[in-house]
Subunit: 164 residues, 2 copies
DNA sequence: TATTGTTATACTCTATAACTATA
DNA sequence: TATAGTTATAGAGTATAACAATA
């Protein structure tokens, strides 16, 4: 051990790269956050290369899985304000990935649809996302991954129900 | 069923779970994100009531667990830019929760320490966080919680190692 | 009168770059 | 020359409020 490290230890300073978590380590929210922060940064890097802003990917995926969805429904599902959704759909239409169609049964609503180009884009993004996640998921067995998903779903149901 | 949910139903909003996820549901990153988003909103609501900005809580906890930590080390640990850390420490000092002390062995560095008032604040915050998490954690057995933490740690180690 | 979508706006969070003082 | 911290600033991301069209 070096002299400076000994000095640091004597002062009760943390060794570089070995920062203590203390009670913070008892919280699952903390663990969740740091994993998710790193993952979302990797995701953001990938999606930025593909020329789209964060959040657009999951919105496009939701539209693709729910043709005719309204902007309000999309906003609620992805957890964004409706004004943010407007900007995002604008960008999708500009790129030709999705389109608004005035709903005949309620002309206030815009029914959202993914285009062929949007579906192709989405397929490519899904592949990129799989590659991005694979580094992390290789740490987990298939059973562990399934269990993890189940636990996260149970937690999500609880936390969503909690806020109404 | 809560009153707000009934109101949502009356307004013809989609019931939770009515919107299909499609391939998005195959990604653990998506599940991670939606749980974490909800949790962090609940956390933010609690911490706002306590008069502190998001991110300050975990930074104060890290300082408390690592007396003498430098601002650079803290920045790296919580994943924020050093300029953001400056603003946060400013706020902590303004509230008397932490203090900077010029490090004698390297006068460029500021060694960070939590104050007595800061520790009292932190203890109160930990209690509030436990209450906030409890609604979610009641869904999980003790064994499941331990397993979840272990899986998340393995994922975090992998994703951190991945980026260097 | 209420709701969907739109626009304008402001506020928060974060990143970048230039600067200082120390090494 | 390099590093720790500071400052100023700009860019995302998000939320709020007022508005038009429709119910």
């Amino acid at each position: 051990m070096s002299a400076s490290k000994s000095a640091a230890k004597a002062r009760n300073e943390p060794a570089p790269g070995h920062v203590a978590l203390g009670r913070l380590g008892d919280f699952v929210g903390f663990r969740l956050r740091r994993v998710q922060n790193q993952l979302s940064r990797n995701f953001a890097a990938v999606t930025a290369e593909e020329g789209l802003k964060s959040g657009l990917f999951s919105s496009l995926a939701i539209i693709g899985a729910n043709p005719g969805l309204s902007q309000n429904e999309l906003s609620h599902e992805v957890g964004l304000d409706k004004s943010v959704t407007v900007t995002m759909i604008d960008e999708m239409e500009r790129n030709g990935w999705a389109e608004r169609r005035r709903a005949p049964e309620d002309r206030r609503r815009h029914a959202l649809f993914i285009t062929e180009a949007g579906q192709a884009k989405l397929d490519r993004l899904f592949t990129l996302m799989e590659e991005t996640e694979s580094a992390v998921l290789h740490q987990l067995s298939e059973g562990e991954l399934a269990l993890l998903s189940e636990l996260l779903d149970r937690m999500y149901d609880a936390v969503v129900r909690d806020e109404g």
